[in-house]
Symmetry: C2
Amino acid sequence: MKKTNVAIVGMGTVGTGVARLILDHGDRTSRHAGRTIWLKKAVVRDLAKPREVDLPDGVVTDSLGDVIHDPEISVVAQLIGGLEPARTIMLQLMESGKDIVTANKALLAEHGPELFTRARELGRSIAFEAAVAGGIPIIANISQCLSANQLQSLEGILNGTSNFIVTQMDERGASYDDVVKQAQELGYAEADPTMDVDGTDAAQKLAILAHLAFGATVDWSDIPKIGIDNLDPADLQYARELGYRIKLLAVANLADDGLELSVAPTLVRIGTPLAEVRDAFNAIRVVGDAVGPVFYHGLGAGQMPTASAVVADVIDTAVGRTKLTFQTLEYFNIEQPPRVKLLDALTLMGRYYFRLHVANHPGTLAAIAAVLEKHAISIASVIQHENTVGAAKADSVPLVIMTHEASEGSAQGATVAIEALAAVTGPVVRLRVKD
Amino acid sequence: MKKTNVAIVGMGTVGTGVARLILDHGDRTSRHAGRTIWLKKAVVRDLAKPREVDLPDGVVTDSLGDVIHDPEISVVAQLIGGLEPARTIMLQLMESGKDIVTANKALLAEHGPELFTRARELGRSIAFEAAVAGGIPIIANISQCLSANQLQSLEGILNGTSNFIVTQMDERGASYDDVVKQAQELGYAEADPTMDVDGTDAAQKLAILAHLAFGATVDWSDIPKIGIDNLDPADLQYARELGYRIKLLAVANLADDGLELSVAPTLVRIGTPLAEVRDAFNAIRVVGDAVGPVFYHGLGAGQMPTASAVVADVIDTAVGRTKLTFQTLEYFNIEQPPRVKLLDALTLMGRYYFRLHVANHPGTLAAIAAVLEKHAISIASVIQHENTVGAAKADSVPLVIMTHEASEGSAQGATVAIEALAAVTGPVVRLRVKD
C-alpha cells in the first residue's frame, strides 16, 4: 500500500486529537485515503511537557527543520494559533514543498490573500475545513457539494462560546458574568473571552464564508458587528414572550445591488431550526437558488470535532482532491475582482426590537410613536406590563416595541432621537429580528 | 478555457432541471469547475414532445448512439428511472468511455456491485449524490467530509412523500387516503405511491448509506421495513399526548456485534431535530466517534434540488475529484468482505408503543400487564381515557402502553399473546420509540 508521510506542527488540544486519530485508527484512514497515513513528525515547543497521547519513538521534535528538510513529508497539519509565527511557518513549509492543513481562521482572515497566492505560485495547497464551524464540514459543502447553486443567503451560529452563554442565560436566567465564569470552568471560554463574545471570531468566520460563497473580498473588521457581551437577561425574557430566542447570528444576504454582512444578537423565531441550536453547538443555514434551504448542525469546536475536520483534510490532500479544488477555485486570488460589493450597512432593511425605560405618565408612548413615524418606522407590537412591584406607581417602566421593516439608518436615527426624549431614561436597547 | 462536453440521457423532470442549470448558468459552473461545462447532447425518447427548456440546435436527439459514438463527450448524466433499460444503457455508456452521473437509487440498490465493478474494470466512475436525499449532499459528506470518523449511527427521514403525508395527517388531522390524494395533486406522490409509502424507497436508500457508512453489504429487501400506509390518525394523537411525533425513520445503528438496520414509523420526541422535519423535507442525523452528532436538513426531492446534486457531481467528475474518490473507496466491490454483519432483527433492543382495544371491565389491564411481564417487557406509562362519548359505558376502550427497553423478539411475542386475550378486540398497533 502507498504511504503519505504527515507531520503535525503544534501539539495543543487539536494537534493531540489529530495525532490520536492518525495513530489509533490507521485502518480507517488508510481505507478512506487508499494509502497509509503515517505520522512521521510532531513538532512541539517544549519537549519536556507531558503529552496526552503516546507518540512513537522519534516522532516528537522541537525542530521545525526536521519537517522542512524531510522531503518524504508531503502534508503538514499546522495547528498553532495566532498570526505570528504561524504565518512565517506556513510560508516556510510551503516553500519546502509541503501541502498545508490548517484550523487557524484568524490567520486566513488576516493573511488569506498572501498565503493562498504564495501557495498557487509554489503549486501547493492549503486546506482549512477546521477553520470554520469545527466539525460541520461547511467549507467542503459550499465549495463542492453545492457548487451548482448561486447561494442567496447564509445564516450561521458560528461562535459556540457565545451560544453557550446565551443559552445558559436564557434557560437558567443566569447573569452574563456568572455564565462566563461557568463557561471558563467548563473549557468553553478562554481566560480572556473577548474575541468570542464581542463578535470578532464570528466576523472572521463570516468573512471566510462570504468569500467562498459569494466571491466577496472583505476585511473581517469591515463587517458591522455587535457581540453578546452587553446582552441583558431582560431581553431574553421579552424575546421569549414575543415567541423568539436571541442568537448571535452571522448573516450574509445577497441582494440585487450587493451583499449584506453582519454579526449581531438577533431575535430568531422559536421553532425554526436556528432558534433551537443550544449550548456550544454551531449551525449554518444556506439557501441556494437550485437546492433551496439546507441546514447543518454540529459541534463547532472541541478537540475531536476539530480533529475530525483536520484529518478529513489530510485525507483529501493525500488522495489529491484538495489540489484539484484549490487549483480550480482560486480562493483569495487578489488578481480576480470581487464578484459582489458590500452594501452600506445603513441601507439594510430589517425588523427591530427596541427596549427602553419610559416615564410612567400620559403622552409618553405617543411621543415615542411620533419619533418612530418621523423615521418611517411602523410599530408591529408593543409590550408594556403593569407595574406589580409594590402598590406605589413606579416612576419609570420598561417598554418593548417590535417594528415592521425599516432601514438600519432609520433605526439608528430613531434610537438617537428616542434617547433624547425627556420621558426616556438611559440607553435604548436595539436588536435585529429575523423573520 | 478548457471544456468538458456533457450529455444528458433522459429529459424528464430532473433532466430538464440539469439542462437549465448547465445552459443558463455557464458562468457559475465554469467558475466552480475551472472549465466550461458544455451540454453537447440530450437524449430523449420522443423528439416531438414539447420541452420546458429551450435546447440549442443539434443538442436534442433520440439516438443514444449520438452520445456513445461521440468521443468528445466524457461525462453523461444518466437520468432515466427503473432497472432496464437503465442498467444496459449505463454499461454501454461506460464501455464507450463515459463517466456516469446518476440519480437512480433503485438501480444502485439492485445492481450496484455489477455496475461499480464494471466501472472499475473500465477505469470509469459513477457519481450518485442525487440518488439519496436529493439536495442534501449526504453521499459526499459520508464519503469525504466525515472520513476521519467511524460512524456509530445514522437516522434519516429519507422519503419525502411519506413525511409529507404523516405531517399533514398530524397537523390537520386528515385521513391517510385524503392526504395521499392531496400529495398526488401537489406532485409529491406518484399515481401509484406504493414504493414510497410502504418503506421500499427508504430501505433502498438506507442500503446504499449503510454500505457507504458502515461497509455493510446488504440487499435492501433484507432490511426489516414497515411503511406508513397503515398509520392511524389516532396514533399520531396519542403520540403527541405523550410528547412525540411519528416519523418514517430509517435507522442504521452500529453495535458491538454488528449492524442494526430498520425502516419503520417511529415515535420521535418533540423538540429534537428529527421530530421537527416537516412536509417533503428530508433529514439525516449521523453520529461519528470524533465529530459527534451532525444533522443535515433539506429538500429530499423535486426538480431543482435533485438537479443541484446532479450538476455538483458533473462538476466533480469534470474536475477529476470523482475519479480519485471512486478509485480510493472501492464502493460495491464484491471481492471485499463486508466489514459488518447484519444483526438479527429479533435481538434488537428498543422501546415500544402499543395501542389496543380492550374490554371495559375489571382485570383487563392486569391480564395485559401479566403478558408483558412474561415477555420480560416492563411498562413505562399507560394512557386510558375515560369514555366521554355519551353517558353509557362503552364496551371497549382504547389503551396505549409505552414500554421500557425490550427486544424486538419479545415485543413480537407479546403482541401475538395480547391479541389472543379474550378481553382484547382487533389487532394490536405496535410502533418503535426513539429515545
